[in-house]
Symmetry: C2
Subunit: 168 residues, 2 copies
DNA sequence: TTATATTTTCAAAATATTTTGAAAATTCAG
DNA sequence: CTGAATTTTCAAAATATTTTGAAAATATAA
């Protein structure tokens, strides 16, 4: 397999992979393209390489920046914006986990707490079972939350070289 | 809030939550409905409670069974099939992790191995960087794979009461 | 077996999401 | 400032996914 073929296949597979996780195909492809690019790319580079429209590139780049996976870099002497992706996949993974936790897990736990305030007889079988399910989900959610916090903290401290502080 | 409202809100939120994870809304809603139902339900019950068509219920139930989240139960004396969901959310979570690992992580790692076989000069800067990215992803993928295996094993052994075997 | 209840399938319709592209807004060199 | 380059926006078009519902297949009681 040639390098260009391998890159293409990686971009396509990463895109397909993304769709299974509720991420749109193009956004995942742009991310993949930036991952395997030596140089930061402009919107025009991305348009050309993935044959997609300017608007599409622009919107998805903005989302990727929102997820903290891509950043805008200024190349001195160049007028156009350039974009580059974090190459360390472990950092990519923790960043995604951090964002999903914030956007989804935290609100879900909040909702579950609200659902625990039901009017009426807590001894009623239906009510009792409902509350058990809800509190079970909340408990597991909170455990996951804590595990992820430790992961994120570990990542941050590892990165800043201050991992020992975690145990003080 | 009344119980019926709480149930409804739970079902809707679980559905919305699902779509963010690449799971279709109705499938997540059916799962939620079965989670908070005291009794196993028939297809007709589900049709009625979620006001969706028979075909839709049938297909999504089949998928849920494929994910190992729902099972068919026979109620003696009743002609129709009944369905019920695993209520222990920790088991639900490990089941989902197990399936996603099998369906997505394992194939992704396989693909990455293929992409490492590139023709041409391994000293070429472009080639070298590509191989570094790919092997980085593969390494992180393999680590995740191992962590998830331990989780799944722990869950299974915990469930069967043979957790001590894990350390022998 | 036959008649009826139940489940499954799948093409077409409905709905939701993504993509385009041109106009508007912004940036910046001269 | 001016005007060209660049970026952003967003309504409409294209595409993808989900849902329906009726027909076909299957199961079961009599």
């Amino acid at each position: 397999m040639k390098l260009s073929e391998a890159k293409e296949q990686f971009i396509n597979s990463w895109g397909a992979f993304g769709t299974q996780w509720g991420i749109n195909r193009t956004m995942a492809q742009i991310h993949a393209l930036l991952l395997v690019s030596t140089q930061p790319l402009t919107q025009d580079d991305i348009m050309e390489q993935l044959t997609i429209s300017r608007g599409n590139v622009n919107m998805n780049i903005r989302d990727l920046i929102g997820w903290g996976l891509v950043e805008r870099v200024v190349i001195s002497g160049e007028r156009k914006d350039h974009f580059t992706a974090e190459k360390d996949i472990w950092k990519v993974a923790t960043q995604i986990i951090k964002e999903r936790k914030k956007r989804e897990l935290d609100p879900m736990i909040k909702l579950l707490s609200q659902l625990e305030n039901i009017d009426g007889d807590k001894k009623d079988k239906e009510t009792k079972q409902f509350l058990e399910i809800i509190s079970g989900i909340k408990k597991t959610g909170n455990q996951a939350d804590k595990v992820l916090d430790v992961m994120i903290k570990a990542e941050e401290n590892w990165f800043t070289g201050s991992i020992l502080k975690m145990f003080k």
